[in-house]
């Protein structure tokens, strides 16, 4: 992993040389350093492989993300654009978890190599989450592919999905790269510079949300905004689904159809509401309201966090709705954060099941997803993750308030960080940034981002005493 990152940092040299902005020395240093440590780790890991067990897997994953974030912070420090380590860590964590919260009040003065680095961390992080699910889910007692590939009950019933992790990763990576290329191409076609197109695609296809312009998406033409909206929406779709779509295995699509329908349905309903609200309460013309709503709702639901306008001035219910939508997030097995459409769907179905159970105590009413009963393992997993999610948000808000941040901003920041949306509420929302947060608050936010990306449980498990017991 670290080696890949080192290579990526080195690849940032290209723009550094190309634009001649004098940061190449710092970038090279950090790149080489990361590469070296990566090699060392690889050697260590090979020797440790024999004792690979469940606990080690959790520890490894958590450490991996922390180490990635730490090393990702080096370029910011080495080039001197950020002087405080906390800031660099925050920015790097925000990138690697594809959150998109930033400490830069203005990004336009940053050297281009740094801009590319920010975009790349997000692109890398966006893909990492898919890998993460693959690596971790099996050890949660749920079928290996159940969250990722197909329907909730596990793919092995159908016998059609590929069964090896390696090939799944290959598929996913293929789709991811293909999508990236496609949107770079589309954006270039629509009259954008290659440099802009690459950066914008990187941050939006990974549902990250860093921008190379202070005014984010509003810098773009309308057509380009729609293209980006499409990119964001696709990033919220399950990768296996996209793969099946691309390879014409349409019969397999139905395994995810309900979840997809829920995701798109939620998007449409929210878009209509936001459009109406914008035109009636904000005085936008109908066309503008529709455009803003289509693009921004896509950005929120997929927890991207790219902004088509300064949303912090929008009507309060709309910003509130955005918070709720970002909590829902896109489909499971996509790059988005949040709870994921599948979990929300299962939770809703579960409530319905309980209602039916009470009215007809003797009837058998399993929770179904795509006409297949959801296994009790998955059900408890979903419920536990939801509750832990809520608890982490509470704890996060409380800690942020302890750091002296006001209520609105604490709520906004905690939720934006855990879901990976990015912009919070108040000063840290909209085109604003997190620069005014205290050091402690930034660290807490970084921690919440990590928790959100690792879906809470993976990190929390390290704090269970029996984890460390022999």
């Amino acid at each position: 992993m670290l080696m890949v990152e080192g290579l990526m940092i080195l690849s940032c040299l290209i723009p550094a040389f190309h634009f001649g902005d004098g940061t190449w020395r710092g970038i090279t240093l950090s790149g080489l350093f990361t590469l070296n440590v990566g090699l060392l780790m690889l050697v260590r890991y090979h020797s440790a492989r024999t004792m690979h067990d469940r606990r080690l897997a959790y520890l490894l994953v958590v450490l991996m993300w922390i180490v990635l974030a730490l090393f990702g912070a080096i370029p910011f420090m080495a080039t001197g654009v950020l002087t405080s380590f906390t800031d660099a860590l925050f920015e790097s964590m925000s990138g690697i978890t594809s959150t998109g919260a930033t400490v830069f009040a203005s990004v336009e003065w940053l050297p281009s190599s740094i801009l590319l680095w920010r975009s790349m961390t997000q692109w890398f992080g966006g893909f990492g989450i898919v890998l993460l699910v693959l690596a971790l889910v099996p050890s949660m007692g749920i079928n290996k592919y159940s969250l990722y590939t197909a329907e909730a009950s596990g793919a092995d019933n159908t016998g059609k999905q590929t069964t090896s992790t390696a090939s799944t990763v290959r598929q996913t990576l293929g789709v991811y790269i293909l999508l990236t290329l496609l949107f770079v191409f589309l954006l270039c076609k629509s009259g954008m510079q290659l440099w802009d197109a690459v950066n914008i695609t990187f941050t939006n296809i990974s549902s990250g949300g860093f921008s190379i312009y202070n005014d984010s998406l509003s810098h773009l033409t309308h057509l380009q905004q729609y293209i980006v909206a499409l990119a964001m929406l696709l990033s919220g779709v399950n990768f296996a689904m996209l793969y099946n779509l691309l390879t014409f295995h349409w019969d397999r699509l139905r395994h995810k159809l309900e979840q997809f329908r829920f995701y798109i349905g939620l998007y449409l309903v929210a878009t209509v509401f936001v459009a109406i609200a914008l035109s009636t309460h904000m005085g936008y013309s109908a066309a503008d309201a529709a455009r803003l709503s289509i693009v921004q709702t896509a950005s929120v639901l997929t927890t991207t966090g790219s902004l088509v306008a300064d949303t912090s001035y929008w009507w309060v219910p709309v910003t509130y709705l955005f918070v709720i939508l970002s909590l829902c997030g896109g489909m499971a097995g996509s790059t988005t954060g949040g709870l994921k459409a599948m979990r929300v769907l299962i939770l809703i179905r579960h409530v319905r099941k309980i209602l039916r159970d009470r009215l007809h105590p003797h009837a058998v009413n399993p929770v179904r997803l795509n006409r297949t009963p959801v296994s009790s393992h998955l059900l408890t997993n979903v419920m536990v993750i939801f509750m832990v999610y809520v608890m982490v948000i509470f704890a996060g808000v409380m800690m942020l308030m302890l750091c002296g941040i006001n209520a609105t901003e604490s709520i906004g920041a905690a939720i934006a960080c855990i879901t990976g949306y990015g912009p919070g509420l108040g000063i840290s929302g909209g085109f604003g940034c997190y620069a005014h947060f205290t050091t402690a608050a930034k660290l807490i936010c970084s921690l919440i981002m990590l928790l959100g990306r690792l879906e809470c449980l993976t990190l929390l498990i390290l704090f269970i005493p029996s984890f460390w017991r022999r």
Partner: protein
């Protein structure tokens, strides 16, 4: 398949209304005695309620079959909790203490659901009869409207059990006596004793008759209507401490209070929920005091306020007193969490209920351990009794639904012009039947609900009702799935 038993529902609701009419005698007598000019309003609304009650009981109800299915018990719960506050709003309308029908309904719902949110700005200017009536509605709502009739409808047999369950829905409240009617009677006895004790104590401490009565009723029912706009401190220092103690106890399961009264103290401490309740109380007070002290308030002020505030919040009573000079936002979050958690199961308080939270937290801890050791078998135990996994699923569904209601209610409130934190806090305070909390003040809102637009009042009313009937009953009645399941059978008749 038997026809849907509308008649019984009408009959029971009618009986409840008759009780309400009888209850109106108290403010009527008080009004005549005090000569505050409200006697006609009470008499007229009393007559109307009496007529409505008789009509429902005899004409609609008629000869009802004394059997109750599960779905019918939901209807009965919702019907009772809607019809009573609806008619209970009449006195407010006729006496003219509220500005509009919405206000009257809001006040009435807030009373019966023991929420305590009020549209009346200066309660001390109200005639004593109205104050007594407000407190009375809370007292009646405190233990649950349906428990009134359970004792009465002995003929119901199994159906009464489901009513009892509907009133303590899903919290697995233990009976105090093998016979349902007996245990309900005991509950009412405890409840009455507690109220009388507090009333007496307050009188001894020099509070006026009416004030003491109102405060006692509102405290024991965890309602929280006050008789003074500046809060409970207007009664004096000692009465405030007395009320604090009683608030704490009203958040405890009535079944446990029964043991307390029958001097079986040995069993008392064995109850896991009571232990958690006490522990949570002590920890919260400690945290709250520290937070206030660090903000620069005096230690004794911080301690006094913290004890009062935490007792009021945990029991979802919702009395308020002047807040310390420097508010701490840590306390805001703590308060919010406590509001959502609520009181013990089987108490008069609202919220998710501590018992459910204990089960949930234990289950999550087990789950994390199971992630490491997948083959270990775990049970969640409360009071040394294994909780079934079915029940755990219900708990999770309930908590999820609770959060959805708060978020949804908050959404409507933001559309009415509240800020996001304020909207969420207000929604939480009302669904947990807490009502006024300094939390809302510190979030930039106002405890004066009169200033809210009508839509917001209706939303809050709905939330109070939802919280009081514990969501599922309300949801069952309005859910399309329910109708789909029920209608074909009704047609077959």
């Amino acid at each position: 398949m038997r026809r849907f038993n509308w008649k019984l529902i009408a009959q029971v609701t009618g009986v409840l209304l008759l009780y309400l009419a009888a209850g109106l005698l108290l403010p009527l007598v008080l009004s005549i005695y005090e000569r505050d000019g409200m006697q006609f309003a009470f008499a007229v609304s009393g007559m109307l309620i009496l007529m409505a009650g008789l009509f429902l009981r005899n004409m609609v109800g008629g000869k009802a079959e004394y059997r109750l299915r599960q779905d019918e018990s939901y209807w009965l719960t919702v019907a009772a909790w809607v019809v009573m506050p609806l008619f209970g709003a009449l006195p407010y309308l006729f006496t003219g203490v509220t500005q509009s029908f919405t206000d009257a309904l809001f006040e009435s719902f807030s009373g019966f659901t023991t929420t305590g949110s009020s549209v009346i700005r200066h309660p001390e200017e109200l005639p004593p009869s109205i104050l007594a009536y407000r407190a009375l509605t809370q007292w009646v709502g405190g233990l649950g409207l349906l428990l009134f009739v359970v004792a009465l409808l002995r003929r119901l047999g199994l159906g009464a059990g489901s009513l009892y369950e509907a009133e303590f829905s899903g919290t697995q409240q233990r009976k105090l006596h093998p016979r349902l009617a007996q245990s309900v009677t005991r509950m009412w006895t405890i409840y009455g004793l507690l109220t009388a004790t507090l009333w007496g104590l307050l009188m001894v401490q020099g509070v006026g008759l009416v004030d003491a009565f109102c405060t006692a009723c509102s405290t024991v029912s965890t309602g929280g209507f006050t008789t003074h706009s500046e809060g409970i401190t207007a009664l004096g220092v000692h009465p405030t401490s007395t009320v604090t103690v009683f608030m704490f106890f009203s958040g405890v399961n009535v079944a446990i209070l029964y043991r307390l009264f029958t001097l079986r103290w040995r069993h008392l401490w064995r109850d896991g929920e009571l232990r958690t309740y006490t522990l949570l109380f002590v920890c919260s007070v400690a945290l709250c005091t520290t937070a206030f002290f660090l903000e620069g308030n005096g230690f004794s002020d911080s301690l006094h306020f913290s004890i009062f505030h935490i007792a009021s919040t945990m029991s979802t009573c919702g009395y308020h007193m002047p807040v310390p000079t420097h508010w701490s936002f840590v306390v805001s979050v703590l308060t919010f969490v406590l509001i959502v958690i609520g009181a013990s199961a089987g108490s008069t308080g609202g919220g998710i209920k501590l018992r459910r939270i204990i089960i949930m937290v234990k289950y999550i801890a087990n789950y994390l351990t199971r992630m490491i050791h997948p083959n270990v078998v775990f049970h969640v135990k409360v009071n040394n009794e294994v909780v079934e996994s079915d029940y755990i699923n219900k708990v999770f569904a309930f908590v999820f639904l609770y959060i959805v209601f708060i978020i949804g209610g908050g959404f409507v409130l933001t559309m009415c012009g509240c800020s996001i934190p304020n909207a969420v806090c207000m929604a939480a305070a009302n669904i947990s039947n807490l009502g006024p909390s300094p939390l809302i003040n510190t979030m930039g809102g106002s405890l004066d609900y009169a200033v809210l637009p009508h839509v917001a009042k209706w939303t809050l009313t709905l939330l109070m009702l939802a919280g009081r009937v514990e969501l599922f009953a309300l949801l069952a009645v309005v859910s399309p799935a329910y109708w789909r399941l029920r209608l074909p059978k009704a047609r077959r008749g």
